[in-house]
């Protein structure tokens, strides 16, 4: 079955009208993940854009057609560990346990419980939609925010020019935990993303699976809503967000990128990078190249 058949024939388990912004990447990711996982799923969504957009429900109504939990910002993985344990005890290994969190609830606040769950090899799929900041509360900096980004806590003025630190490379950190399946995906490469979600759900039956998906945010990044998918594609083509997967310790680049475009092509349309001068852009390019070199080494040596 091609990915288009999968997407057209599976049921949409999210409410048709949810209050995510126009062109939201997170909404696209949530819908696709649940379409593929199917009705036999329990999902945990911590506070963030997707929870704020009405998915976890208001009062006594639900935003999803399946059971949904709203854990705290920092305990998504540990709450789901408990749910997993319960279902294992009941002999219901067929239930998909999924966590869907933003980058703040994954890389900053939720990292302790996430790391512990990965180390214990809990049977679940954890999906991080990475929009590079705390978008739900007005774009504060997170640890996956890219160097040089203007955010509301790293403003641009006479002295400071956006975030000074490089981002934390969460997918690689998770791969080093020895999880059953770790991958990065981009909604711009939909076939690849659908395959990775399928693989992640399969791997969650025998171990911890982690997916890191870039989620273009028109409101936070200040881009046009129609350009979201375009940006997700350019992020991959410029090696800003390379696509790879790690399956049982074997690293593989799923979308090879022999002729990368310069990062400036990706950055051009975004207001959060508008203030950057030539020196800063060169630094960003240097970081991206270095990161890519490391990935090339890891994928080459094993395969």
């Amino acid at each position: 079955m091609s990915y288009l058949d999968v997407l057209s024939e599976s049921k949409d388990l999210v409410t048709p009208g949810m209050s995510a912004c126009q062109g939201c990447g997170g909404e696209l990711i949530l819908r696709k993940v649940l379409q593929i996982s199917g009705e036999n799923t329990i999902i945990g969504i911590p506070p963030g854009c997707m929870a704020g957009a009405g998915v976890v429900g208001w009062n006594f109504s639900n935003g999803l057609k399946i059971p949904v939990h709203i854990p705290l910002l920092d305990n998504t993985a540990s709450l789901l560990s408990g749910v997993t344990a319960m279902y294992q005890k009941m002999g219901r290994e067929d239930v998909n346990i999924i966590g869907l969190a933003g980058d703040g609830a994954t890389a900053d606040c939720g990292f302790q419980s996430l790391s512990a769950a990965a180390e214990r090899g809990e049977h679940m799929l954890y999906v991080c939609y990475d929009n590079e900041g705390y978008m739900n509360t007005g774009f504060q900096r997170s640890s996956t925010t890219f160097k040089g980004s203007q955010t509301s806590t790293t403003p641009v003025g006479k002295v400071k020019k956006g975030k000074k630190e490089n981002r934390k490379n969460i997918p690689m950190i998770m791969a080093m935990h020895g999880a059953a399946y770790v991958a990065t995906a981009s909604p711009g490469h939909m076939k690849d993303m659908v395959e990775k979600i399928e693989k992640g759900i399969a791997a969650s039956k025998h171990g911890f699976a982690y997916l890191h998906i870039i989620s273009p945010c028109p409101t936070g990044w200040v881009s046009k809503p129609e350009c979201g998918i375009d940006l997700a594609k350019k992020a991959v083509k410029s090696n800003y967000f390379p696509l790879f997967e790690v399956e049982e310790g074997v690293w593989r680049r799923t979308v090879p990128n022999p002729k990368p475009i310069p990062v400036t092509d990706f950055i051009a349309g975004l207001r959060k990078f508008k203030h950057l001068g030539e020196d800063e852009l060169a630094e960003i390019q240097e970081y991206v190249d270095k990161n890519n070199e490391l990935l090339e080494k890891l994928t080459r040596e094993v395969s």
Binding site: T15, P16, S61, M190
Partner: protein, 89 residues
């Protein structure tokens, strides 16, 4: 045996009228469509669907009018029209 241990809202589904957000509406030119499925796979609201004969249709019930479909269509078969203008199918 209980099927789930998680609660489901007793008042049912929370649905917002997101169609009222729309300024521009996507209009599909069926002649130019090559049925590649880009619009369906990239639509964040899942407002584009495919029928049995693999033809694609736009549903305006919840479409937010973001314009991703029109931007990603390789044949430019989808155009964004100001709400209230042009022909509605």
């Amino acid at each position: 045996m209980r099927k789930y241990i998680s609660p489901i809202g007793k008042e049912g589904l929370y649905v917002l009228d997101t169609a009222s957000w729309r300024t521009y509406r996507p209009v599909m030119d069926k002649e130019a469509c090559i049925e590649c499925g880009a619009c369906m796979s990239f639509c964040p609201v899942n407002s584009i669907y495919r029928d049995q004969e693999k033809k694609y249709y736009i549903s305006y019930d919840y479409c937010k009018g973001c314009g991703i479909c029109a931007n990603e269509c390789p044949k430019d078969a989808i155009t964004m029209m100001l709400e209230g203008e042009g022909e509605n199918e």
